[in-house]
Amino acid sequence: MPSRISRLSSSRFYFPCILFIIALLLPVWLPPFLLHVAIMIALFAYLGIAWNILCGYTGKLGWGHAAFFGIGAYASTALYMTYRVSPWIGMLLGAVFAAAYGAVCGIFCFRFGLGGHYLVIATIALAEVMRVIFINWDGMGGAWGLLMPVVPDSWYELQFHTTRIPYYYIALAMLLVILYIEIKIVNSKLGYYFVGIRDDEGMAESLGIDTFKYKVIAMVISAALTAFGGTFYAQYVLYISPETVMPVGLSTDILMGVVVGGMGRIAGPIIGAAIIQPIHELTRAYIIAYIGRGGLDYVVAGTIMVLVALLRPRGVIEWIEKVYNKVIGFLPSFATEETT
């Protein structure tokens, strides 16, 4: 039995800690623009993990997470603009609304036993219906969207204009919380049910798992968690409209990161976001500004998607894992008792 000290000094333990400390210290030396990239990575890693709970672990491919994201963004923004409710509370309400819509979607889709491409198109359609409702909902700003009133920096109102550093820490904290939730779920009975449903639904059913119930639960959890990301985005950008927070393209962006990174893996969405988001943001900022035309970012992202599908259908995580294990093996490990 390795002692506690020796376990702490094992490279398997301290290397992730070093990575985390680097992440904590990033704002110190990152210029504001790169900090923005880091925030987008954290946000999309967060959204990817939320998506992964439904799709990676339960195996039900939903393509409509933009609706949940948008509901979260709209709920907190509308509450703040009408009643000056703090976005922190709006965030919770947004999650409740998104969970309710997630339950509706889940009950609709899974009651009728939709799977595969039927589920994909049904979730797209459900999200699109929600988008059209918001376009026509004048109380919510209609197609114009909502523009948040600008107030001085404050944690209560969750707005910062002088610096982006608080946004970064909030996004990082959200990422850590969702990682914790994800690991808890995956290692719980619930997580085993999810994976059971993914691997063989008929088998899971025959073992007495109420697959309908657990599929809906997965959808609800995924929806509620996605809504938090929506609120964060609304507070970060301070402008939301049906076209920016609810398009199908947003759902695609979320799942693209996960698929590139690795579906159904804990670190997959983080790796995927760390690959896809810099491509978007950096090409947008440098190349597009230079040649004056858009498009190159998605050409690169699209090529990566095709290549990943062809070469590494399980995601880039397979490569990263090898490198990671090599680094860990290379680093000095003081845990002498561990022989593995």
């Binding site: 491409h117 198109i121 059209v132 035309r293 970012d297 998605y298 050409v299 090529t303």
Partner: protein, 291 residues
Amino acid sequence: MIDISTFLQVVVSALLLGGIYALIAAGFNLIYGVMDVINCAQADMMMIAMYLCFWFFELYGVHPLLMLFLATPLLFIMGILTQRFIIDRLLGAPLFIQAIATIGLGYVLQNLALLFWKEDYRMIYMEYTTAKTMVGFISLSLPRLVAFVGCLVMIAMLYMLLTKTDFGRSIRATSESREAAALMGINVKHVYALVFAIGAACAGIAGVFTSTFYYTYPTVGAVFLLKMFVVVVLGGCGNVLASIAGGLIVGLAEGVGSFLLLPSWKDAIYQVIFLIVLAIKPTGIFGEKKV
């Protein structure tokens, strides 16, 4: 309050648009039915054909309809290449991997168009594209009428190809069972390549017709992609003829819906109809998977 002649006008225009939806969906449906592959880049291939028409008209003054003889073979070749280099390696892969690959391809096509041709909305302006004919008291846009008839003819030809020729028989055999078809001496790879190419060519033809009455811009595919899915599932997956029914329903729902309600609701209407059909009969109105 609702004027009957205006209403008829709306219905007819909506049905005409439905014909276009039917043709792109037919190509998609063929690929899906035979290869079990969802080609999310279908609508973007259509966009490429639309740009071909636009540029050939703009630069050389070629009549868009003549482009049927150029865009269709080009898209056919593009289909073969796509099949060889991408789709062939993904047969039997999980659904989302295929979807990711074809969406990735769609992104590449869309954004190459954006990169080279900018995001401007482009339209072919000539006598033909603004021509009108009167049928009774209904005024019809000539290019839309031609597009509708052209699309129906193409679908009919596709159907004949599938049911009346030896090649069509080998396609149907392959779609029923890949292994059995291979054992009967059908070159399955060959069939797949041609099926995908025919699907892409359908997108090309639809693009040529569409370019005569619709704006051409890089993300025009997005307007059609979702409708295409809905048309396919409404009509019945893998059933090429059912695409016509699906296309007309979507066209009608969109046209009549935006006439009776506000135009901004039009996208929701056909999707709600789609969700209802999905709930009642998930295999589509004309059920059963067959080509």
